[in-house]
């Protein structure tokens, strides 16, 4: 009987969004009279940072600072249609829709500015700070504030745009069954080091080293936050969490937070996160969906590390002490 150490590695790819008979998200963008911009969505921000990212995407596209954009989310009665915040699709689908809407609004904005400056709209550019300048002659400029006032009170224009991003439905090929459930995949690899007590079956995760390839990190600090939390959740899924430990038998399932196990702040593995940025072909500014994939590779990596440590293959989650002890017993020569 001893504490045995093991190391496991796992690599995954993970789709951004899923194709359920067509996968659309729509967005509307309009300016207020003072040149702030509203993004209207039905996509939900449940803490992953959707509002911040959509504000950044809209601001970057129109050419204003991010704090000039207000994002209104998640009234599915009144907002433009969104399939939902699931399958790590929010940034990718809604972001693309916001870019399209913001481009249309930007075009109207430039047309109004062109009338005010008596130049051609195609000769104008934005400075990202809320001003519109004549290319090559930046001394000739107008603020977006003044452009919005002009549009609203003088020229009768609506500085607004409609955005739509649709992944069309993919039908399986009759011969092969092949289909295209997603157009964009994120990737990850994890190395986990564990200690397994072969007397008690208890697993301690010592370290997890994660590499995530997530396209472009549109907000690097928020990406890191997502990945650190996700890595922890992956370990939690691997070793602790279940509502039905003897599924399909419902006995001994947790009924509240007392009995639903998750690692607490005292049970953290030493965690390393490395982000690889390889911009995706069809993502907004190259983004992919890092939301759920970050909690996946730890699970097979921990299972492999347990196998490396004590030589038993646990193929049912979570990898509880009981499952390890039963497997060790089944494996032992009589």
């Amino acid at each position: 009987m001893a504490i045995r150490r093991g190391r496991g590695v796992a690599a995954i790819n993970y789709p951004t969004g899923m194709n359920l008979g067509g996968d659309p998200t729509q967005a509307l963008v309009h300016s207020t009279p003072t040149g702030n911009f509203m993004v209207t969505l039905s996509s939900v921000d449940l803490g992953q940072g959707m509002k911040q990212i959509m504000a950044q995407i809209c601001a970057e596209t129109i050419g204003v600072p991010t704090d000039r954009v207000v994002v209104d989310t998640a009234d599915t009665d009144t907002g433009p249609h969104c399939m939902g915040t699931f399958a790590s699709r929010g940034t990718h689908r809604a972001g693309n829709a916001v870019i399209q809407a913001a481009k249309e609004a930007r075009q109207v904005m430039l047309e109004v500015a062109a009338e005010e400056l008596e130049v051609n709209a195609s000769d104008l550019e934005t400075d990202g700070q809320g001003n519109i300048l004549v290319k090559g002659a930046p001394q000739k400029s107008i603020s977006i504030f003044d452009v919005a006032l002009s549009a609203h009170f003088k020229r009768g224009r609506s500085i607004s745009g409609r955005g739509m991003f649709l992944i069309p439905r993919s039908y399986p090929e009759k011969e092969t069954g092949a289909m295209k459930p997603s157009t964009c995949y994120a990737h990850a690899c994890t190395v986990a080091e564990v200690e397994v007590d072969d007397e008690t079956g208890e697993v301690t995760v010592l370290t997890v080293k994660n590499v995530f390839e997530i396209g472009r990190a549109l907000n690097p600090k928020m990406v890191e936050q997502q990945l650190v939390g996700g890595s922890w959740m992956g370990i939690s899924h691997a070793l602790y969490e279940t509502t039905e430990p003897y599924y399909p038998n419902r006995d001994h399932g947790g009924t509240d937070f007392n009995q639903y196990l998750m690692p607490g702040p005292g049970d953290l593995a030493e965690t390393q996160i490395i982000v690889l940025e390889r911009p995706s072909a069809d993502g907004p500014f190259g983004a992919k969906g890092p939301g759920e994939m970050c909690a996946n590779p730890q699970i097979p990596a921990v299972a492999n590390a347990v196998f490396d440590a004590v030589g038993v293959r646990i193929d049912t989650l979570p990898i509880t002490p009981e499952r390890i002890l039963r497997a060790l017993k089944a494996q032992a020569p009589n």
Binding site: G229, S231, F257, G264, P265
Partner: protein, 160 residues
């Protein structure tokens, strides 16, 4: 049944309410007084989201009867900022990206405040111990631990 009068100070302001006997402090704060910073997660004292400070002690407002708080001084997270300036803990949570969905955050900040009130320069183990009654689903805890340690350092710099 007759309502019961209850009187206490909440973040320095006097409050008086008539409540049904048996009302929890969490219910009284959120639904009677309108301070929604304490969150109702489990309503049975296991998640820590409802944590408040009563007379300097960390308490679970979901397990505290409001009528036992007569004359008490109660602090919630909504009372921490002063004149629009965030409390060092709130600042540190923001800077460390220690909040995602935000549901556990007020309870975490209450637990951290009581720790720092008693132990201005805590070790990492002391921070972990202080937060161990609070559940977080999003962050993996590490950013929260770092935020509390950062707030402790900024407190001690201000004091110096």
């Amino acid at each position: 049944m007759a309502k019961v009068p209850v009187q206490f100070t909440l973040n320095g302001a006097e409050k008086a309410e008539f409540i049904d006997s048996g009302t929890t402090l969490l219910h009284a704060l959120r639904d009677k007084i309108g301070d929604t910073s304490p969150k109702g997660g489990c309503h049975q004292g296991t998640c820590g989201a409802c944590s408040v400070i009563i007379d300097g002690e960390l308490r679970l407002s979901c397990l505290t009867l409001a009528e036992t708080c007569n004359g008490a001084a109660i602090t919630t997270t909504s009372g921490l900022s002063e004149g629009g300036v965030l409390h060092p803990l709130q600042r540190a949570f923001l800077d460390a990206f220690a909040t995602q969905c935000g549901f556990c955050t007020p309870g975490m900040i209450m637990a951290a405040k009581v720790l720092l009130d008693h132990t201005p320069n805590p070790s990492r183990d002391e921070v972990v111990e202080a937060l161990s009654g609070n559940i977080c689903r999003c962050t993996g805890y590490e950013p929260i631990i770092q935020a509390v340690l950062t707030a402790a350092r900024s407190n001690s710099q201000n004091a110096a």
